[in-house]
């Protein structure tokens, strides 16, 4: 793993507007240099419904995408719900190229995800 300084990624954790919902808002590029912070947050989160807002993630790399799919796998195993929302076009393109668009649960907004899942 790289040991040099890392590009900042900010993660804001807040309760959703419905019971049992936790919203993680990620701000900044999500990459091999910083995805562990994101992974820590998602692993510690035990809420029944986790919503990951990627609206302010301009790009991610393969490592971060793998991490996001780890959330998908973990939620499926543990029968928890999750959603990825506010996907910028560049991330949608990447998900499509990686062939995982159909796997990830996505919604246009936090409100849409809450309405559908909570």
């Amino acid at each position: 793993m790289p040991t040099q300084p890392t590009a900042p990624v900010k993660i804001e954790n807040s309760p959703g507007s419905k019971e049992g919902v936790n919203v993680l808002k990620v701000i900044g590029p999500l990459t091999i240099y910083n995805f562990f912070d994101f992974q820590d947050f998602t692993r510690k989160d035990k809420s029944p419904i986790l919503i990951i807002d990627l609206g302010e993630v301009p790009y991610m790399d393969s490592a971060a995408l793998g991490c996001l799919l780890g959330v998908h796998v973990s939620c499926e195993k543990n029968q928890r719900k999750y959603a990825v929302v506010n996907l910028p076009e560049r991330l949608q393109t990447m998900f499509s190229m990686a062939g995982v668009s159909e796997y990830l649960t996505t919604y246009p907004s936090v409100a849409d995800a809450e309405s559908a899942l909570a």
Partner: protein, 276 residues
């Protein structure tokens, strides 16, 4: 201790950048109205990073690279008004940290400024082995700062391409460069990666070479390229069993973006081709 950044605010585009920079924590920003005025400031104080003005000559901008009054060298990020591959190669050769042409993509910009502030002095050089605008060869240490710098310089050589295509090309290059740095070099800054970028009327070509042992694409069960049809995440299980970090999508994504992608026999050199 706070880092110090000097910004030459000589255009409306830079005004917008200034707002972005102000969001970077732990950084004191001094501003100036022109390159000459900023040069005088830089001679009287030590700045970690200098962002040149958009206006003025390249020599004026690169003169910030000269250490003065015993101060250590600043990381210089050159701003330009219009695409100029010649200016970009000159900036690389003289040791500029990065180069941006207006309109500035704020995300990349903020990322590079942050890295320039965080990178300890001296910054490992990017060696420019060929500086023809249609045949660029860069050699650099296998560390993430160098990769991000190289990607931004490459982005500048693609300034005339549609933004979406340019973003995709850089996405592919990022994945291949990271593979070279991680798997070919173990992120060892003593090891070097070489990237060739060549452009003809009909194609863009990138060649990435690392000093590692190489790999056999057909034996990559831990990569998405080996997944059976209809199961795009099968390799994640393999990676978990092998104790590998999440990922494995890089080659697949790069292959989807490029029209052709091939490897040498050893597997430590990749050729990426995009037809125009």
């Amino acid at each position: 201790m706070n880092k110090r950044l000097l910004l030459v605010k000589d255009s409306s585009e830079v005004e917008e950048l200034a707002a972005k920079i102000s969001q970077i924590g732990g950084c004191v920003v001094d501003q100036s109205d022109s390159n000459p005025e900023a040069k005088a400031l830089a001679e009287s104080a030590s700045y970690d990073v200098v962002l040149t003005g958009v206006g003025g000559t390249l020599n004026e901008k690169l003169s910030f690279l000269e250490a003065s009054n015993g101060h250590r060298r600043s990381r210089v990020i050159v701003l330009g008004a219009e695409p100029s591959p010649g200016d970009v190669t000159a900036a690389i050769r003289r040791g500029a940290f990065s180069y941006f042409t207006a309109p500035f993509q704020s995300t990349c910009f903020q990322e590079i400024v942050t890295r320039a502030l965080e990178t300890p002095d001296p910054v490992a050089p990017i060696q420019l082995l060929s500086a023809l605008p249609n045949w660029i060869i860069m050699q650099f240490a296998a560390e993430h700062v160098a990769i991000e710098r190289v990607l931004q310089f490459l982005r500048e050589f693609h300034a005339d391409l549609p933004p979406a295509l340019r973003d995709n090309l850089m996405m592919a290059c990022r994945e291949v460069l990271l593979n070279a740095a991680e798997h070919g070099c173990g992120f060892d800054p003593a090891k070097y990666i070489q990237v060739v970028y060549a452009r003809t009327k009909r194609l863009l070509l990138y060649q990435v070479r690392d000093p590692g042992p190489g790999f056999a694409p057909q034996s990559m069960t831990h990569a998405a390229i080996s997944n059976p049809a209809g199961d795009p995440i099968r390799h994640l299980e393999v990676r978990e069993q092998q104790g590998l970090r999440p990922g494995g999508f890089g080659i697949l994504v790069a292959e989807k973006i490029m029209d052709e992608m091939l490897y040498n026999e050893k597997g430590n050199e990749a050729l990426l081709i995009k037809y125009l």
